[in-house]
Symmetry: D2
Subunit: 392 residues, 4 copies
């Protein structure tokens, strides 16, 4: 199958490419790939473990190998020889020039960027260019995944975002203050009938206009915000307190990370969408809102080694207070990258089985799943298993 | 309802008594009680939140108030005024003299003990005395729960443990080396038709003879070993690694505790049953056995503030190793005590609904549930909910 | 000896009073008291373990017992019976009405307050009232200690803060925007010849005017900001990295606390002086400024159980990065209160030995010691020992 | 200078070699080297940063490069290119065949070994061979350091260990049950007048016979047991509790590690000397023995990433209990290797300055320093600084 990656030169995308090709070559095992669990056997028939990659990016780099090497130099996040074994392929992957429209001040951290809007294009022209790029690459088995840096929360416009007609009008009006990059990419994908997965907290396809488009074009889509670290643990662990009727009286979540991701999130406007996305899960699991702190801070020496410190204060029988602490010390891209491949595969299965619109059964992969409040990791996993076994 | 507690003067039993009576008096809220979650509404009709307590013990103390106060002085595990408000009731609860047969060297840590075997009774006479004591107390709504200190693993005898006839013969033969205290208590309860729950890793009703007795007498029973601390967290968290196909390459579980429990477990023979019970859960959840360390050590100053340190080393995509740490800092009796009331209530519901034999749907409460390999906390909770909603 | 406490009804002050009287009555042992270490034997001759307490506060409470009980109800920070055994004494301790001038928005968290400025007094009149109050209480063996909530950093005025003449002019000019409560208390104490210790990060005696006054009046003083928690550990541990030539590449310090202190510090203006005080120590110990995060956040359920999470990222031989984590889980008032008594005793010894001005050898007790850059806990302790043994 | 390493193919020795040569080539900076701190400026004149390496080992490997590569494949403990840049040199370093006499059952974990005793040599012949090997390599600026795996505690014999005459008699008597490998190496070094440092808890030069030899030969020596991980932190942190008069009521130290070191220590006889060495430090720092647990366990996936979990339970003012936790997550060889170079340099300075016998001022580097009870890291560092500045 083919995967078109928005933010193709980012660490998550390049790690997914390295892993995808290394899997094909049988030089790594399948650890980390949800879709390869025995529960999902049979997926190969619809979406085999064989990938072609393309994508958009706004950073002017030579190719995906150069981008991968750059990330590797910072992070040593896997064995170097793996990169070299897929080097030839990655050198052939060159991202098309993308857009960073309304991506916030954090985007400055990416260094020099080259965007379609810098060429003076109108919204309509940008959308057309994105569409053309995808079209050239895509076939019937292509999925588009957004892994680009987090955008600020856009201001909602019922007029432009409320319906696909409005959205088209926004493009024609060149109403740039209402559009963000992630919307435009999602629009292009859905318009072309390509399944779309949003691995970021950016708005992506999560507006009425694009949901309508997905239904009209009969395309499946899913999001938002890959559940890869502290939130994964939180939504796995919080149910324990619920089941045992232990009252959570405070939950501190303190995240530090370096890397571009950390730099971008250190910009208040970009961080906002992330923190909101993380914050709501406790209420959804527990049924009430304990006092909670969720912070993300930049810590350069960690690079992509995203570390989370959580402290849970809880009350038990007879009113006695007790404590729980955890430390999550992981490499974000390593946890995230296989999910890119998983989401792409599941979306392709969905498409082949004739499903369209939001596939809420993929909530297992997301912090803020669209159209469902189920964030309990266990329930999500059960839902995914049932959905899949019902499909085949 | 009535609850007969084996080990009535222990910290778990006395905390359950204090809490049970405090709930009746409405001076504490229902935090910690699983059976009071909305999922189990309707349980009140069968097993209201109103309790009478009795039990056996081998320590010569005046009454349950004296025992409670002793634990309180060591632990301050709840607000003192609660104890005083139920003092009158507790002063009326006096444990009958019990047995400590083959309870291992750890029993020495309890200090001076008084047992039926010290009176020179035969096995049959001991069993008869235990039966009489329970009979005097019990009514149709009585459940027996074992909370006594952990016994060593007894050596299995097909002749004496393999059938109820064999068990009766063991009593008649006075074959003391084959009987342990927990078996005798379980025998007495089941013989009288009283539902029996085993909150300890001791053998209790978990031999063919007693399982047969439970079926013949049409009594429900459940066990073993209350899931209250580190194992609760482990069986909640390990599924996350399974779901995400992250390979656990090592899991360290290091437990420290003071208190009698800690002292008893510092005896190698007594510890053995505990460690085995804790150790098997990872394999059951993950489907493979990662390298694991499970240790329990005595740490006097913590008293009942059982603390667990866990370190999980796991491998993700592209073979990269990552780390997770947690610290569980809780008061064991506070986590355990409400479960005593929960188990008693659910067993009473089971009895009233005509169920008998091992109630494996109560596995949610146990580290080593009988007759099921489901130890994933979430699956257990779903199973409990479904079972309950099917019953009513 | 006598101790006059600014913020007499706060948790640190009342805990110091409870402990001070309990020591006299021999119902607690001397754990936590630095001045009772064998290194300081002989101190009794100058400053025996026998205390009378008085102080200022802005909260209208009945007496120090009522205030203590209030803190105890929130925190259970020691055994209740101790409080009762010193109840009679504490009921006799009634704080004089104080000032909260320019104490920032955080002061609102204290609830209803009554201050001298509310009476419409001028600066001079306020200073006079504070002086009178102290004068009525004090004798030759009286020390004044500031434990009141943290004030915002005042703006420095060379005219008014640069000399004692300027300071007197500020009082006469009623230039309220330049004065803060802590300055006024410090002025009153020094003017009266009473040794003054500043246990808070507020400015206190740390302006040229008051340093000059201390020298003119030949009074010893010391501060600032009691080193009680995370900074204590940090200044003990950071030297290890220095000694071993391990490069600290990042140090995260994340503090959470409830209580009034936490509420006050959740006000940005009040927090500022605290964070600055904590932040500088790494540079002073290591000789360079690693990337560091120092945050303090409000976490109500912890009350005074101030908890700190620190993560140290360091680089070793051959450039390899390594990690260190610590969690400090202590009761702030319990760590702080004995130091109040220690500082009072050491200041009294200083006075009796004819020392005056800033006693920088007391830096061991402070986060931001005046007139020295030595913050390494070990060096401070050595300095304290040497100073003391040179005195006697 | 020249360094002769006992256990030359081990991870600590090879990492020291890699680092030593990389320093010479200026491809790494001096992080981790104590002797390069400004406090020790001037050391270059006596012991420049320029090294030749040789040594003994019992594993038949081609050369130090092969051994380094093997460790690197397991650990990735530094950037691979550094190893390649010193490859030529390391390929020339071939260890002489050593002895593993009475090295315990743990030695089996090393795989196939080749020893002098397998050749059927007598004790005297073994000692002679070791001496010859060193002699061929050594010059006036050569130091011998022991980094071999931990031996069991030998049984002390006053006859053979009590004097150098006795020791010589032991060699002549071929009394193999009284000699261990580390003694023989130390004997050879001291006899040749080569300064000797014992980085392991094995007995080494720490018997009267060899101390006497060192004095007779006027050679400086130091040991035992490099202070590299959890003990380093413990002896840095425990003083804080002492200084503040906080009573340590329990200290748990739980260490896990993989690697050969972990395997060897999983043998009860080999572990014994290690645990004893670690255990005594608390009493030496605090002046009393708190309840303490010190455990070391094998955890294969960590390889050399030795991880320690410590929990400190302490009592403060008014008897209140509080808690402190730390996690040390470091690469043991990376912390240890530079100290090998440091010890070698300081011993060479000592020799050049005419010092001999036990150099107790080097206690800073050791867990169980010979002839001093000072284990407080801060005092040790002060002692080292003073000693050094007194020398030059």
């Amino acid at each position: 199958m083919k995967v078109w990656l928005i933010g193709a030169y980012g660490i998550v995308s390049t790690t997914a490419m390295v892993g995808g090709k290394a899997l094909e070559k049988n030089i790594i095992d399948k650890v980390g790939l949800v879709s390869e669990l025995p529960f999902f056997s049979g997926i190969d028939k619809y979406a085999p473990l064989s990938f072609e990659f393309g994508g958009h990016d706004v950073r002017p780099m030579d190719n995906a190998y150069a981008a991968s090497l750059d990330h590797w130099e910072q992070n040593r996040h896997f064995e170097r020889h793996i990169l070299e074994e897929v080097r030839d392929y990655l050198e052939g992957v060159k991202a098309a020039k993308g857009t960073a429209l309304n991506c916030g001040s954090g985007i400055e951290e990416l260094g020099k960027i080259e965007t379609l809007e810098q060429e003076g294009l109108t919204l309509r022209e940008i959308a057309d260019r994105l569409t053309e790029d995808m079209k050239k690459f895509a076939d019937d088995e292509t999925v588009v995944i957004n892994t680009a840096s987090t955008e600020p929360v856009p201001k909602y416009s019922e007029e432009y975002h409320g319906s696909i007609d409005g959205f088209e009008r926004m493009l024609d009006d060149d109403a740039k203050e209402y559009a963000t990059a992630s919307m435009l990419y999602a629009y292009a994908a859905l318009k072309l009938g390509l399944p779309y997965g949003n691995f970021t907290p950016s708005v992506g396809s999560n507006i009425p206009a694009l949901k309508q488009l997905a239904i009209e074009k009969k395309v499946p889509h899913a999001g938002n915000d890959g559940k890869t670290g502290e939130t994964l643990v939180k939504t796995t662990l919080a149910p324990m307190f619920l089941y045992r009727n232990l009252e959570v009286i405070g939950w501190m979540s303190y995240n530090i990370l370096g890397d571009l991701d950390g730099k971008v999130l250190s910009h208040r406007d970009n961080k906002e969408s992330k923190v909101v996305s993380k914050d709501k899960v406790l209420e959804k699991v527990l049924g009430y809102s304990p006092y909670s702190i969720t912070e993300i801070n930049y810590f350069p020496s960690l690079v992509d080694n995203k570390t989370a410190f959580d402290f849970i204060h809880f009350k038990g029988f007879l009113g006695t207070k007790m404590k729980f602490y955890f430390i999550w010390d992981a490499i974000d891209a390593i946890v995230a990258a296989p999910l890119i491949l998983d989401i792409a595969r599941f979306l392709l299965v969905a498409k082949k089985k004739g499903l369209y619109g939001v596939i809420k059964e993929l909530s297992f992969f997301f912090k803020s799943p669209m159209e469902t409040d189920i964030v309990n990791t266990h329930q999500q996993f059960e839902m995914l298993k049932e959905w899949f076994s019902g499909l085949l």
